[in-house]
Amino acid sequence: MSIEQRPTVPTIDYREMEKSVELSSIAHEENEELLTLNMGPHHPATHGVLRLLCTLEGEIVRDIKPIIGYVHTGIEKICEDKKYWGVVNAVDRMDYLSYYFNEMAYCGAVETLIDLEIPQRAQYLRVIHLELNRIMSHLVWLGTSALDLGAMSMFFYCFRDREEIVDLFEMSSGQRMHPRYIQPGGVFEDIPLGFAEKLRGFCKRMPTRVDEFEELLDRNEIVLQRLRNVGVVDEQTLLDLGVTGPLLRAAGNPWDLRKAHPYSSYDHFDFRIPVGTIGDNYDRYRVRMQEMRESVRIIEQALEGLPEGPWVAANRKYVLPPRHELATSMEALIHHFKLVTEGFRPPPGEVYYAIEQPRGELGCFVRSDGSSKPARLHMRDPSFVNLQALRPMVKDLYVADLIATLAMLDPVLGGIDR
């Protein structure tokens, strides 16, 4: 499409738009004193740079408006300028607590686009890392949420266990965060020697650790006061808002993409979906704790049944040839040069590929115009959609409950703003 043919994008005056933001949508009555309070963007309890425009009546939240965009990095646009191979690095940095999921959603979308068969071993390795990442993300959520409720030691225990997981990530992929482990066609490297042993030890320890956490928090009076029967939102409201993940499951809807639309061999594993009953903060807490146990079970099964074989597809059109062939085969060298300099060209078309992320449905939309770079890449980030549910959750609650509810919502601003 030439420049003249492109539809003109209307220019937006952001200053004008900001003026039109109404501070409060509730009618101001005669004897009522409403206070508009800015919470954030540098509030520690907002788990990132989230600005909350609260309308308070005394200590009670009457209305709330999340204002986002403080860590907008334009990653989706950056991806349009990268080869399909290089996009993996960019999408890694969207949701900084679930980098393996970002890679998986993107690679899954591209693999669907080019119709590539993934070897069984690669799928199992992906599952192992995805579930480790899920536990890690939940541990960070648990540590920081407990910190918001005033439990200092939980933070250290969670980060102690998180350290074990990022150590495993460093061992297999070379980096603790943003590992660039999953590539279109499989994974970059096989797991190293000693990884399985270390992972087995971790799987043995982790359920006991979750028990310890639960002993500390489950029946603690402060936790109960802040969580139980607080922030109740019924299933239908959540469905109307498009909320997915532990928030929806806490309200009793067992929607889990790992079961509903199994990807990457998730149907090979036996695991359960924890659901809550009424959908208050306590259910959200319990669902996530139970999910950690289920993730450990999935890792154990994947490690037990890890099939032998290649960890990356053998299609030379899309995947780099193995290194040892470069010195001996001219053809492999040509493929290598062509893939690195130019990248592969998927057929024109578009695809949406959704996976279950620790916070809900992470979807990746890729549109290909036949060139070696994606024409458009969009991520449906669960934190962004779930943040809408904050208003029905915290309406007519205390400010202290707002902090607890926001913690149980578990937003990651890197994913929201992208």
Binding site: G86, E170, Q175, R180, E212, L216, E221, P274, D283, F337
Partner: protein, 177 residues
């Protein structure tokens, strides 16, 4: 196809209601139980590392500061200036200017060599694509992670810096550890 997870759904437990007589008990009893848990952790010992004195060991696959390599026997550079690393780099932080080898001045084993090889470390994201792209194993990502500096211009690493052995070596973990 309607979605029915069937027996795979498990209902999570609900905790007791807060407040009341149970709440008064829990304010002491459960707090003591929690304290028992935290005091048990004392026996585990510390997990922290006294960082500047004591460095965190890294795994063999760790991706840190880049290194350019020479052939051990001939001393010639492995890099032939093909710029494949620069093409693969997703953030465009590598600059390679190639030049021809002459019989009098032989730098690399191939026909050409890299006259200029610069990596802008303030842009590098340590993805390791340069290492994967290089067909001659000339560039690898080493294990050093202490790369901060006071000036941005000092963070543009030249070929000499990348060729030299770094002074402080980062401790390496073995695979079984």
């Amino acid at each position: 196809m309607p979605y029915n997870p069937g027996d795979d759904v498990v209902l999570v437990q609900r905790g007791p209601s807060p407040g009341g007589a149970g709440g008064a008990y829990r304010a002491f009893g459960e707090t003591l139980r929690g304290l028992k848990q935290t005091f048990q952790r004392l026996t585990e010992g510390t997990k922290t590392i006294q960082y500047p004195e004591e460095k965190v060991p890294v795994y063999p696959r760790f991706r840190g500061r880049h290194k350019l390599h020479r052939f051990e026997d001939t001393g010639l550079e492995k890099c032939v200036g093909c710029s494949l690393c620069a093409a693969a780099c997703p953030v465009d932080c590598i600059r390679v200017v190639a030049d021809e080898n002459t019989p009098e001045n032989r730098v690399s084993a191939g026909e050409r060599y890299a006259a200029v090889y610069e990596i802008n470390m303030s842009r590098c994201i340590f993805c390791g694509y340069c290492e994967i792209a290089c067909p001659f194993d000339a560039i690898t990502l080493g294990h050093d992670y202490e790369l901060s500096d006071y000036n941005r211009s000092d963070l543009i690493f030249t070929k000499e810096m990348l060729m030299a052995e770094p002074l402080d070596r980062t401790p390496l973990r073995t695979a079984g550890e």
